[in-house]
């Protein structure tokens, strides 16, 4: 996959939020074989010394993708991206601008505004977006390096609520489409890839599974399986059966008449 002007061998991007410990995070990161991982920025709390995930990510040689999680306005998101650039020495940003805390749906007006500003400021912008084909096109047209539509709300684990929208986004996009949010289990990730997404971003489905490392393996394999299935070209869905064995040369072994089953129309 080519993303942000660089080739990547993994099509699974991992979020680091929601893990019960850094040990579980490490196990899942290794099992996922992800190359790109997201982190957030929050206030330092000197009274609580919780370990930073950054040491782990650096030790594993992974690529840090900071996010703007928690931002509600373009202004906050742009500032957060600029802070992230200073903190991590990267121009890459996973842009999130949220509309409300109940749905965590993106605010499309603020999102597009922030994307435009950040592209102009030299960022590689990966926007978390609604599954809206028109908004996806607008984000692409202002110069985003990818579009990242949600399958269903963050943490909802419902998979892809509206596969038609994902299909429409894929159909028009000339930048990578990364399904971000909503994955609940491996089959959801496979479905995203079968629909033509270029990659999947997954956090909660792995972090909150009973066995995160095992779920990371499952989702990695599902991403690969879905990608191969998409490239293989699936058969159409049909109402009627299509015999897989030829009927030519079939022996006559029954009675003279009525050997082709019940005539449904006249029964």
């Amino acid at each position: 996959m080519n993303l942000g002007g660089r080739p990547w061998s993994s099509r699974l991007i991992m979020g680091t939020g929601g893990f019960r410990s850094l040990e579980e995070l490490e196990g899942a990161l290794l099992a996922s074989e992800a190359e790109i991982v997201t982190v957030a920025l929050r206030r330092i709390d000197a009274t609580r010394s919780s370990a930073s995930p950054l040491d782990l990510i650096d030790r594993l040689g992974l690529f840090v993708l900071p996010n703007t999680a928690g931002c509600y306005t373009a202004r906050e998101a742009v500032r957060t991206a600029q802070l992230a650039r200073d903190a991590f020495e990267t121009d890459w940003i996973k842009l999130e601008v949220i509309g409300d805390d109940r749905t965590l749906y993106p605010d499309p007006i603020e999102l597009l505004d922030a994307a435009e500003q950040l592209v102009a400021d030299g960022f590689v912008v990966l926007p978390y977006t609604n599954d809206d084909p028109i908004l996806a096109r607008r984000l692409e047209s202002v110069g985003c390096a990818a579009v990242m539509p949600l399958g269903s709300p963050i943490g909802a684990g419902r998979g892809i609520d509206n596969e038609h929208h994902i299909r429409l986004i894929v159909e028009h996009a000339e930048v990578p489409v990364i399904l971000d949010a909503g994955i609940g289990t491996a089959s959801d990730a496979a479905q995203a890839m079968e629909l033509g997404c270029d990659a999947v971003l997954c956090a909660s489905a792995i972090a909150r599974a009973d066995d995160p490392a095992r779920m990371a393996v499952a989702i990695r394999l599902a991403v690969e399986a879905g990608y191969e299935a998409r490239r293989a070209g699936r058969i159409p869905r049909r109402l009627h059966a299509e015999p897989s064995t030829s009927s030519s040369g079939l022996a006559e072994l029954g009675d003279e008449a009525g050997t082709r089953g019940v005539d449904v129309e006249h029964a």
Partner: protein, 67 residues
């Protein structure tokens, strides 16, 4: 002078730079730490030379696990 650091009022005696505050919160200024003063980013290269004024609002952030 009184400043706000990560949302909490603090009394400071004498000249204090952004670097001093970062040092007190994060120890050696490591990768993954960023600072905003009155809403604007203070690049790492300016931490030493940027002095806090009375009423300054400072945000000192670091990497955490996230989506």
């Amino acid at each position: 002078m009184t400043v706000r650091i990560n949302g909490e009022e603090r009394e400071l005696d004498g000249a204090t730079s952004v670097a001093d505050v970062v040092q007190s919160l994060a120890g050696q200024a490591e990768r993954g730490v960023a600072v905003a003063l009155d809403g604007d980013v203070v690049p790492r290269s300016d931490w030493e030379s940027t002095m806090l004024r009375d009423g300054a609002r400072l945000e000192v952030l670091r990497a955490v696990q996230g989506g």
